[in-house]
Symmetry: C2
Subunit: 358 residues, 2 copies
């Protein structure tokens, strides 16, 4: 079967031919429909993130998949079920995190990530997965089911951020998303449509006219150009934010977030930058965290419950927003277009098979 | 009556004579027994923290008080009840934070703090307080009831830190306290006697022999000299900490805590440093927060529920520890000794009246 992979020593995807996988006990065989492309895929290609599977000369790409069960193989699924796979798998037998259904909390070395760390991804005509790592979604979500994995990342981060504010009565009204990439925009739409915020902001660094600014304003949020208003000026220029969601991977934002927060606010951190030394006014930031009861919460990956929540969230996002977010779905013969990274590309996917309604 | 106060323009306490307070409606009159001295009192004296009451030339010191109800004045108390007052008061009528019993979550400008910000403290022979800001404690806690306010600070910080880990199954085993001042030692004792940690550490910068190191080791904890093992080396030299409690006010510790944490760990920040610019590897710290699901939670002050919890905690701390912690209780004629700040002084209090059992 065809697969889209990166070979060792290369930094571009290649279409390769690999054997169709055979499901083991407790595993289902899934026919891949679409697989989304995101920044992590680009980091994997650049070689700055991830790891090839042991004894393999290539890594099949892709971790944002949606597919249709082809062979349930005795699992709880039926042929034709539309499913989304979670990303993490236990590396050497189960461990406590996987046993309790929280693979997202496993530390390094205690997980593989399909398409990223030590395990092949989903950019192939078929994949297999243990039934417990598949999430059934409504048939009508088949076309955009590849958005469920990125939304699940937001579900998990917000789950943890809200938990950090659960020891007191927290009535958040304002929220800012740092970053207007596809994850930032999906999160902003979630804030607008499924959260109680009265005022939302999205921080980017793009000139008008720009399709992401149109989406931001179409959602009723305020676009903030960080070249004019740096993140640590947000509270002075606009207002202190009850919640800041960092989706830029720009390390200074993690610390500027402390200034951007309103008293009793929380910053959810999502980015994964590399080493970078810079100066901060650590004394003032420390004091600000304490005197105003602020919190910073880092979050990575997500578990089955977050995928289920993400499917609900996807169902509540307006079609118009989703149409403008997904700028291209490309067949395997046109995969280059799905990996393009320019100002008109927001969210793309590679299509491996068309969905046929049952 | 006699009171211990700081006059405007001075940096040392003075014994002054002020009128005995008269309780208003809903207020009780309390005879002060003892008032603890801590680092905040020293900061108030130095002028780096706090604010004089409006139109006053002096501030009565002290926020860690225990007393006996002298005149209940129609409130729910009885004469002879042993009580501890909370610290924050609404500045101009009630506001939402006080209304819902969470004055500790009020931002700057929305509270006074008795003995610190804009309101007289408890270092006087009598004080009055609205009944709702008094917490009744067992009679036998009268001698050491001045420890309840500092313990309540820890109760609140841990309440918020644990909440931040409530979205997943968190089974903490290791905890480190940064700082071996009286708050650090009280917190360490709390960790040992009322928390599930299997291994505890306390970080200081003292040479042996030293009474605080004796207390740390007497509690069964490991003393770490930060001159040999900096906080960001804790996880390499000892182990990653599931919980770090920062009680040094040293701003670099707030950020080194991120390195000191185990995956999924939380740092509770308590210190209030001033501005201080320094360099950090912000990229690596940001990545570490995210990839290992870590959190930092700032916390200030506490509310009635935390004072009640603190009274329970005080009841479970061993007498031997408390005896070694409280190095001096001094009458008003010897107040200088209570404000001494040397290596043999750990926790002190000023006594305004002896407790007479009822």
């Amino acid at each position: 079967m065809d697969a889209l992979a990166v070979r060792k020593g290369e930094h571009e995807p290649s279409v390769i031919d690999i054997p169709e996988p055979v499901p083991g006990e407790g595993e289902a065989l899934v026919r891949t429909l679409r697989v989304g492309v995101d920044g992590t895929d680009r980091e994997v290609l650049e070689g700055g993130h991830g790891e090839f599977p042991a004894d393999e000369e290539y890594l099949v790409l892709g971790h944002e998949a949606v597919g249709v069960v082809e062979d349930p193989n005795g699992t709880e699924y039926e042929a034709g079920d539309v499913v989304v796979p979670t990303v993490r798998r236990p590396p050497n037998g189960e461990n406590e995190y996987f046993e309790r259904g929280e693979p997202d909390m496993a530390p390094e070395g205690e997980y593989h990530e399909r398409g990223i760390v030590g395990a092949h991804g989903f950019m192939a005509e078929y994949f297999t997965s243990p039934a417990e790592y598949l999430v059934r979604i409504p048939d009508e979500q088949a076309p955009l089911g590849f958005l469920i994995e990125p939304i699940s990342i937001t579900e998990k981060a917000l789950d943890h951020a809200y938990a950090s504010r659960s020891a007191f009565e927290w009535n958040p009204e304002s929220a800012a998303v740092l970053g207007n990439g596809s994850l930032g925009l999906l999160t902003l739409a979630t804030f607008v449509h499924t959260h109680p915020f009265e005022r939302t902001y999205c921080v980017g660094r793009r000139d008008r006219p720009d399709p992401t600014i149109e989406i931001i304003e179409g959602l009723g949020a305020t676009y903030v150009d960080s070249r004019e208003t740096p993140v640590d000026e947000l509270s002075r220029e606009h207002e202190g934010m009850d919640l800041v969601y960092e989706a830029t991977g720009y390390a200074k934002h993690a610390f500027q977030t402390i200034d951007a927060l309103a008293p009793n606010g929380v910053g959810a951190l999502l980015g994964v930058p590399g080493p970078w030394e810079f100066e901060i006014d650590g004394g003032t930031l420390h004091e600000e965290l304490v005197l105003h009861n602020k919190a910073l919460v880092g979050s990575v990956n997500s578990h089955v419950g977050h995928f289920e929540g993400a499917s609900d969230t996807l169902g509540s996002l307006p079609e118009e927003f989703l149409d403008s977010l997904v700028t291209g779905v490309h067949g395997l013969d046109d995969w280059e277009a799905a990996f393009a990274d320019d100002d008109t590309t927001i969210k793309t996917a590679v299509e491996f098979a068309a969905y046929e309604e049952r």
